[in-house]
């Protein structure tokens, strides 16, 4: 079991305490292609933050590959994120004043890998995603789809256990969205990567093999979706 969540609770203490996650139990195996679906306010972003070790939870247990993620120091958390998790964000989150290849190199920079080696690896990943010619370009010179592929290359470069994608198609048009989802699907099938996609779009969720519905801070229905026919969207490539 790669990811194990047992009765995870999270409350935001504001003016009005907000109990966002109310006992989440969730298991994800290595190599699974899963989506977490829910409306806004359902707690899916909070769940994603906890899965990505970006945020703490109040009670319960979260293990990655058997390692308990609890009360980590900032530098330990940074190390785990760097080694085990690759992030793909809705807004790409590339660093604007760095070229594509420099953006992809960044996680390796923080691992202390030599300049030459990380450049070689970054070029290799960009090549695999068909962006070799764009290596020297800055994010604002690229299309949304290209930017997201650079972000995917950056997520992949550390060979993480888990890829966490937060609304990866949220800022893309439907054609590019299909391309990105196909790419994620291919990465899952070919490289046996564990990919977790958080989305509120059923079409996007339909690309994954398992759809986990979250509503009001609890896990609802877990849908096996091997045939990709859970919704009428997506079957013919129409995502939106």
């Amino acid at each position: 079991m790669l990811i194990e969540l047992k009765d995870v609770n999270k409350t935001y203490y504001g003016a009005q305490p907000l109990h966002v996650l109310k006992g989440i139990n969730l298991n994800i195996e290595r190599g699974e292609f899963v989506s977490i679906m829910g409306a806004s306010g359902s707690g899916k972003s909070t769940l994603l933050n906890i899965l990505g070790i970006l945020d703490n939870y109040d009670s319960g247990e979260y293990r990655i590959d058997g390692k308990l993620i609890w009360n980590l120091t900032e530098s330990k958390a940074a190390e785990y994120r760097n080694k085990m998790i690759g992030f793909i964000f809705q807004s790409y989150n590339l660093i604007g004043f760095k070229t594509a290849v420099e953006n992809v190199e960044l996680p390796l920079f923080y691992q202390g890998i030599s300049r030459h080696k990380r450049h070689e690896m970054a070029m290799d990943y960009l090549d695999r995603l068909g962006l070799k010619e764009w290596a020297g370009h800055y994010p604002n010179e690229m299309s949304g789809g290209q930017k997201q592929r650079v972000a995917i290359a950056r997520a992949l470069i550390t060979k993480p256990d888990i890829i966490l994608a937060d609304e990866p198609t949220g800022a893309l048009d439907s054609k590019t969205s299909v391309e990105i989802m196909e790419l994620l699907k291919e990465l899952n099938e070919r490289d046996r990567l564990t990919i977790i996609v958080v989305t509120h779009e059923s079409g996007v969720a339909n690309y994954t093999n398992k759809i986990i519905h979250i509503k009001d801070g609890v896990i609802g229905e877990v849908e096996e979706n091997r045939l990709h026919d859970s919704v009428r969207f997506g079957s013919d490539g129409a995502l939106k």
Binding site: A78, N82, F109, R154
Partner: protein, 416 residues
């Protein structure tokens, strides 16, 4: 932290991303360093110019002058005129053990010195070879008076540089030539090149020096003179020595020992220490003002870095999300701050060194300056200022870096 070219490239990237802001922020540091160094160098140069004026003059000498008495004493009325003679010199030598060289000076103003068809009006001074202990001449040609000149009362003279320039235009070596003074011819034995500076009874450059005995006879002084120049032995207290001399002379000439006007005494050590203290004060002021300006610049850097960190919340959040530890972020921001301060400071150092060099060139080329006056700051001052810049950079970067450390990776996703 390990060495990595990208770290430095990153700093240059971030600094050049907002060029005008970097420039304005850096200007504060630049100006601070510039002011500090220019003022330090300028003060130092001025001090050098002043001590150039003092150079050649024994810093532990006492000049004694006889003057009209200002108090009645021992049956004498006030306003009595008195003069000293050789026996006073002997008395000082034997009774004041602190005294080293004791010698008289006789001078007359406004005498015509004539050489062939040229003449120059200056000061005629009668001195003995002992006087070398008080003031050391800077000989351009020939030599100064020696013991034999004085003993044998040779008709020889040493020209001041101004006198020489006027009597021997065209940089001619005058030694061996004869100059006429008051109807008598004196053979020139040397030229003293000492410029203005502190002097007794007139600038050495405007004077001609002849043996005292000749002077005494020429003006029928009968062995009397009104100035004694003396130096003290090393390590003795000048106040005690002065007091002893004053009491001795007062007793010998029946003058009130408290009559400061009747027996005038000038202690060069006092003057030197006044000038020294003055420049110490100037230096403290300069350092205060300079450091203040520099500090203001550093606060400016800190402020701007604070704004930059706020602006870069998303970027820093991304870095944290993909594996940067807070320590890495801290060191990045501090390195940026050091980079900015040191870079701006280096320009400040460079510019001030250039300005000081220019000032030195201009001053050195002025006449009457002796040449070779340098306003330049010392090498170690430069190193000190450079390390000060690094410290300031760290301090300026501290607050922004601590704020940057508090940015959580989730913040990258919130601010879109």
């Amino acid at each position: 932290m390990r060495f990595d070219i990208d770290r430095y490239k990153e700093i240059i990237d971030t600094l050049s991303r907002n060029r005008s802001r970097t420039l304005l922020t850096g200007f504060g540091i630049f100006w601070g360093i510039f002011m500090l160094l220019v003022m330090l160098g300028g003060g130092d140069g001025l001090k050098k110019i002043l001590s150039e004026n003092f150079s050649g003059f024994a810093s532990n000498s006492i000049i004694i002058g006889s003057n009209n008495t200002s108090k009645p004493y021992g049956g004498f009325k006030r306003d009595r005129y008195w003069l000293m003679d050789k026996s006073d010199i002997e008395a000082i030598k034997t009774l004041v053990p602190e005294a080293d060289v004791v010698t008289m000076m006789e001078s007359q103003w406004g005498y015509e010195f004539v050489y062939e068809d040229k003449s120059y009006s200056g000061i005629l001074k009668g001195l003995t070879s002992d006087y070398l202990g008080v003031e050391s001449p800077k000989m351009r040609y020939g030599r100064w008076l020696n013991d034999v000149d004085c003993e044998q009362e040779r008709k020889v003279c040493v020209l001041g540089s101004r006198v020489w320039e006027n009597l021997f235009p065209g940089e001619e070596d005058p030694t061996g030539k004869h100059v006429r003074i008051k109807g008598t011819y004196y053979q020139v034995i040397g030229v003293d090149d000492r410029k203005a500076g502190i002097n007794i009874n007139g600038s050495p450059s405007e004077s001609i020096v002849i043996p005292y005995q000749l002077m005494d006879r020429m003006f029928n002084k009968g062995g009397k003179f009104d100035i004694i120049c003396m130096t003290l032995k090393g390590g003795v207290d000048s106040d005690t020595a002065q007091d002893k001399v004053r009491r001795l002379l007062a007793r010998r000439h029946t003058i009130d020992p408290d009559d400061k006007q009747g027996i005038m005494m000038l202690d060069t050590e006092k003057i030197f220490s006044i000038v020294d203290n003055l420049f110490k004060g100037v230096n403290i002021l300069v350092i205060l003002v300079g450091l203040g300006t520099l500090l203001a610049g550093a606060i400016g850097v800190s402020n701007i870095m604070m704004v930059t960190v706020k602006e870069r919340t998303t970027e820093i959040g991304i870095r944290r999300a993909i594996g940067a530890t807070p320590k890495m972020i801290l060191s990045q921001i501090i390195t940026e701050s050091i980079g900015l301060t040191v870079l701006a400071g280096m320009f400040g150092i460079l510019f001030s060194v250039l300005i000081l060099w220019g000032a030195g060139q201009i001053v050195s080329s002025l006449p009457d300056m002796g040449g070779g006056i340098s306003f330049q700051i010392g090498f170690w001052t430069g190193i000190l200022v450079l390390s000060l810049l690094v410290v300031l950079g760290v301090l300026a970067g501290l607050a922004p870096a601590l704020r940057a450390m508090e940015i959580k990776p989730v913040d990258a996703m919130r601010e879109e």
